[in-house]
């Protein structure tokens, strides 16, 4: 039975499907990963609880038939709908791994779920900082292109404005990078 998977891979929760994508078995933690836990039922269509599987039917059939070994979707977020400035954010992320499992005469598709919230929240912080910095730099470059070189420490005639603006942009970029704290 696929339930042995829980012993072999304790960090993962699992769900077993048949060829018709109907739920055959799942571990206790799986409802926590479902978008609609109330729709997660033995014998039910797995796509009702996990909408990310809509459109993946071809891939899942290929895995079941052995034409493809596995498939992974990393960093799926389940957003906290009730999150406000006052309330804590309970959003969480998980990786979904789809593979095949043959057990005696039964042939299953196995969905493995792993909570990766910690990793993804850290990644979000880093990407947020980096993107904000780049947006600021883009805005500065844009204003330089339209506003001449005055902000970059002055320049002579109109013909020199581009060069001076570029030099100012580089200086500003270095300044931004110096001031960006990626450990935050």
């Amino acid at each position: 039975m696929p339930s042995r998977l829980k012993i072999l891979a304790p960090d993962y929760d699992y769900l077993a499907l048949n060829r018709e994508l109907l739920v055959q078995e799942f571990s206790d933690g799986v409802p926590n990963f479902a978008e609609s836990p109330q729709n997660l039922k033995l014998g039910g269509d797995v796509r009702l609880a996990f909408p990310e599987l809509v459109g993946m039917e071809g891939i899942m059939m290929d895995i079941l038939a052995g034409r493809q070994i596995s498939f992974q979707l990393a960093g799926i977020v389940r957003a906290d709908q009730h999150h406000t400035a006052q309330a804590p954010d309970h959003s969480f992320y998980f990786d979904l791994h789809i593979c095949h499992h043959q057990d005696e005469n039964e042939n299953y598709l196995i969905l493995l779920f792993k909570d990766v919230t910690e990793r993804m929240k850290l990644q979000q912080k880093l990407i947020q900082k980096s993107n904000e910095t780049n947006l600021l730099l883009s805005a500065l470059t844009h204003s330089k292109n339209y506003g001449g070189a005055e902000g970059a420490g002055g320049a002579g005639g109109a013909g020199e404005a581009g060069e001076a603006g570029e030099a100012g942009g580089e200086k500003f970029k270095l300044e931004l990078l110096r001031n960006t704290d990626y450990t935050d």
């Binding site: 909408p51 990310e52 459109g55 979707l73 990393a74 799926i76 990407i127 780049n134």
Partner: protein, 169 residues
């Protein structure tokens, strides 16, 4: 009549407003606060008029350090490729995103959104439209000058790509 479900993706550079377009369309809301998306978030919206449930994948934006993972695009019936009209480089990279999508889904439907149209003058918008048209991307589901902030052409964008997907189905 059974409801059909179809997957579409929003792709584009970081900060172009993909999440905001989805939020405007699904929740009828807008926030000025920028919160970068990591991984993927899936939203649902049913278009009652055509009995279609759209599963809208909001993908992490492309940056120079990280490209869009093709695995997220698999199984999508359509894509909305988004650019920010106040950042020319995001418009220039539209064809890169279109080609990536088509490499995974050669028969998928494509729409292009020139977003944040409220931030630039109509004259400049026309120039940007010309730049996109010169790329010969031929988005079957159209090219839209959207604003998630004002809501301009957001519904039209999603409804048109839904129609195009259904024609194919």
């Amino acid at each position: 009549m059974t409801k059909i479900s179809k997957k579409i993706c929003l792709v584009g550079d970081f900060g172009v407003g993909k999440t905001s377009l989805i939020r405007r369309f699904v929740e009828r809301q807008f926030s000025d606060q920028y919160l970068s998306t990591v991984g993927v978030k899936i939203s649902r919206k049913t278009l009652e008029s055509v009995n279609l449930q759209l599963l809208i994948w909001d993908l992490e934006g492309h940056t120079k350090f990280k490209s869009i993972a093709p695995s997220y695009l698999q199984g999508a019936s359509g894509v909305i490729v988004v650019a920010d009209v106040s950042r020319l480089e995001t418009v220039e990279r539209l064809d890169e995103h279109v080609n990536l999508f088509l490499s995974v889904n050669p028969k998928g439907k494509i729409a292009i959104a020139l977003n944040k149209s409220d931030l630039v003058e109509p004259e400049k918008l026309n120039q940007l439209v010309q730049i996109v048209q010169d790329k010969d991307l031929n988005p079957e589901a159209g090219l839209y000058q959207t604003s998630a902030k004002t809501g301009a052409y957001v519904d039209e964008l999603f409804e048109q790509i839904a129609d195009n997907i259904l024609i194919k189905a």
